[in-house]
Amino acid sequence: MPICELRGVSRTYGSGPAKVHAVREIDLVIEAGEFTVFVGPSGSGKTTLLNMVGCLDQPSEGEVLIEGRPTAGLSDRALAHLRAERIGFIFQAFNLIPVLTAVENVELAVQLGGGGDGRARARQALAEVGLTGLEGRRPNQLSGGQQQRVAIARALVRKPALVIADEPTANLDSANGAQVLELMRELNEKHGTTFIFSTHDAMVMEHARRTVFLHDGRIARDEVRAAPAPRAGEGR
C-alpha cells in the first residue's frame, strides 16, 4: 500500500482575478521507504505539495490519501492526531522550541502524540542522531547542524511512516548539510521510513532515489534512479 497518494490534487488561493493556482491536477503515488525529492524553482508548488502530503493543508480539488485513508473531511483533531502519529516534520529553520532543551524538544513530540516514556525515547532518538551528551542544551547552545539533528530526532522519535523535510539543508553549510543528509539516508535505510523533501540543493537531489520536478504547479518530470545514489562524499 502506498504511504501517500495524491489523486487529481489542485490547490488555489484567492479568488477572481487574484486567484493563484499553486498546484494543478497532481497525481502522485509515494511508496513506503522512498527517499523522494520535490524540485523546482520558487513558486513551482513544492511547499504547497508538501503541505498537502503532510496534512498541513487541504487541496481545493482532488484527494490525498495517507496509508490508504482519505484525509478529506477529517476533523482538526483527527488531522492533528494523524500528524502526531504518522508524520514527522523537519523544517528549513529547524523550528525548535527555544525555551526547551534538546531532550525536551524531542520529548514534546512524544507527548503531543500521547505516548508514554517520552524522556527515555527522546534520549534514544538523540543518541541515534549522534547527540549523546548534548541533551540538556537549549537550541541557542547548539550549532545549526546539531539543531537540525535534534529536529530529525524530533521528527523520528515516534517512528512515523512518513517524514516531510522542507529544504532541510538550506540553513546549513555544505559539510553539515552532507552530514544531515547522510543521517537521514541511514535512518531511511535502517527503519524504512519514507522521506519526502523539497529542495533547491543539488546535493539533496544526488541522494534521492526519486526526483519529482515541478514547474508552474504541475509535475514536469518524475525520475526514479535504478540504483541507490552514492553516499555523501563518495561521488564528490
Binding site: 492533528a80 502526531a84 516534520f89 523550528n95 522550541i97 513530540a109
Partner: protein, 414 residues
C-alpha cells in the same frame, strides 16, 4: 498532550521575555492588590453600617401592622398598648438575648426661655438598651448617661450644638401625645454623645418612662426591639417570636426584610460586583495586550506545534496556562501587597471630617471612622480573581493562537 508538558512549556514560555512577563505580572499584582484593598474596604464599611444599623434598630422588631405600613410618619397612635406580655414571653424564645420597648418621635427642643426651633428625633428606651446595644458609654463626649426614672436626658452632639445646650441646662422637649396633643417634658441635660454618625448625633435620648409620658402610652411602645447573639440569627429569632401568643396580630420583622438594610445587602453585592468587574476588566486588558504580542511573535512556533499534533484546544491551554502561571505568582504578590494597607485600615481606619459626615443621610448611620475588614475569604477571593484576570486577558490571544493553521510552520522568514 499531557497536562504536565503543557504546564512546563507554559512556565518556560513565561521566562522567554522577562520584561514582558513582569509587565503581565504587574497587571495582575496591581489588580489583585487593588481588589484586596477595595473589597476589604467596602466590606468593612458595609459591615460597620450593618452592625450599627441593626444594633440601633434591633435584629428583630415587633410593631403594629399599621405602624409598619406608615413608618415614615412615625405614627404614635399605631402602638403596642401593652408591651409587658410580649417582653415576658419573648424572654423564653430561642436565641433571644435582649428585649427592649422603644418609642421614637419627632420633637423640638427648647433650652432656657427661648422657644425652640431645633428639631430632632426623641428616642425613649430602657437605659440598658442605650448601654448594652448602643455602646452609650463609649459614645459619651461629655457628662454621663441618665438614671432610669430621673428627670434627665442626653443629647447628641449635633443637636446640643444647634440648641446651644450645655451640661446642667434644663431642656424642654416638645412633642405630641399619641392623639396629637402637644406634650412637653423637661429634663436636665446630663450627657452629650458623639456617636460618630449623623443619625445618632441628631437625637435626644430619654428614659422610657419619660418618653411614655410624653407620648401618653403608659404601658406600651411603638416598637419592641429584640436581639440575638449576632444579626445573622435574626430570621430564626423572628420565626420563634412570630409563634408567641403575645405576638398575634403584630408584625415581626427581621432586619433582613427592613429598609434600608435589605437594600443595603443588595447594594454590597452590586458594589463589590462592579469593583470586581472594573478591576478584572482593566487588568485583563493589560494581560490581553502583552499576551497578544506574545502570540503574534510566536505564530510560526505555534504552527510547528500544530503540525506536530497540538490541537486547537491544546493551543488555547498553552497560552491560558502561560498567563495563569504568571498570574499565580502575580496573585500571591498582589494579595500580600494589598493586605498591608487593608490590614492597616482594618486596625486604624480612616476618619472623615465632621462636616462630611454631617452631610450623610440620616437613614444610614455611617461612622466618622471607616474601617476595612480583611478576611481570609477576601484574600483567597482576590487571588482567584487575579487568575480570572489572566484567563480573561489571555482568552482572546489564546483563541487567536488556536486559529493559527499548522501550515504556518512551513512559512519561511525572508
Amino acid at each position: 498532550m499531557r497536562s504536565s508538558s503543557l504546564v512546563r512549556l507554559a512556565a518556560r514560555n513565561a521566562t522567554r521575555k522577562p520584561t514582558r512577563t513582569l509587565l503581565t505580572a504587574g497587571m495582575v499584582v496591581a489588580g489583585t492588590s487593588l481588589l484586596v484593598v477595595a473589597l476589604a474596604w467596602v466590606e468593612g464599611i458595609f459591615s460597620q453600617m450593618l452592625e450599627q444599623g441593626t444594633d440601633a434598630s434591633g435584629h428583630v422588631r415587633v410593631v403594629a401592622p399599621e405602624f409598619a405600613a406608615r413608618e415614615a410618619l412615625m405614627p404614635l397612635y399605631e402602638n403596642i398598648p401593652d408591651t409587658g406580655p410580649l417582653v415576658e414571653q419573648a424572654r423564653g424564645a430561642p436565641g433571644v438575648l435582649g428585649i427592649y420597648p422603644r418609642i421614637t418621635a419627632g420633637v423640638t427642643l427648647t433650652v432656657g426661655d427661648e422657644i425652640g426651633d431645633v428639631f430632632g428625633l426623641a428616642v425613649g428606651a430602657p437605659r440598658e438598651w442605650f448601654t448594652e446595644r448602643m455602646d452609650a458609654d463609649a459614645s459619651l463626649a461629655e457628662g454621663r448617661w441618665f438614671e432610669e426614672g430621673a428627670d434627665e436626658l442626653v443629647l447628641g452632639a449635633t443637636l446640643a450644638r444647634r440648641a446651644g445646650a450645655r451640661l446642667g441646662d434644663e431642656v424642654v422637649v416638645l412633642g405630641t401625645t399619641q392623639d396629637g396633643s402637644l406634650s412637653p417634658v423637661k429634663g436636665t441635660l446630663v450627657g452629650i454623645t458623639r456617636g460618630g454618625n449623623a443619625l445618632l448625633d441628631r437625637q435626644v435620648f430619654l428614659p422610657l418612662p419619660k418618653m411614655r409620658w410624653l407620648a401618653d402610652i403608659p404601658e406600651g411602645a411603638t416598637e419592641v426591639l429584640i436581639y440575638g447573639g449576632h444579626h445573622d440569627d435574626a430570621p430564626g429569632i423572628a420565626a420563634g417570636i412570630s409563634a408567641l401568643p403575645a405576638a398575634a396580630g403584630l408584625t415581626v420583622q427581621p432586619w433582613t426584610v427592613r429598609e434600608p438594610w435589605a437594600g443595603m445587602v443588595k447594594t454590597i453585592g452590586a458594589v463589590q460586583g462592579f469593583l470586581v468587574f472594573i478591576v478584572v476588566f482593566l487588568a485583563g486588558l493589560g494581560v490581553w495586550n502583552t499576551m497578544m504580542m506574545s502570540v503574534l511573535e510566536r505564530t510560526r512556533e505555534v504552527g510547528v506545534l500544530r503540525a506536530m499534533g497540538l490541537t486547537r484546544a491544546g493551543a488555547v491551554a498553552l497560552f491560558v496556562g502561560e498567563a495563569a502561571a504568571i498570574a499565580v505568582l502575580g496573585g500571591i504578590v498582589g494579595v500580600a501587597l494589598g493586605s498591608l494597607p487593608a490590614w492597616w485600615l482594618s486596625h486604624h481606619g480612616l476618619t472623615l471630617s465632621e462636616q462630611l459626615t454631617s452631610n450623610f443621610s440620616e437613614q444610614l448611620p455611617i461612622s466618622a471612622t471607616l474601617y476595612a475588614r480583611l478576611t481570609p475569604g477576601t484574600m483567597v477571593g482576590s487571588f482567584f480573581l487575579g487568575l480570572a484576570m489572566a484567563v480573561v486577558g489571555s482568552a482572546l490571544p489564546a483563541l487567536r493562537a488556536a486559529s493559527i493553521q499548522p501550515v504556518a510552520a512551513m512559512r519561511h522568514e525572508r
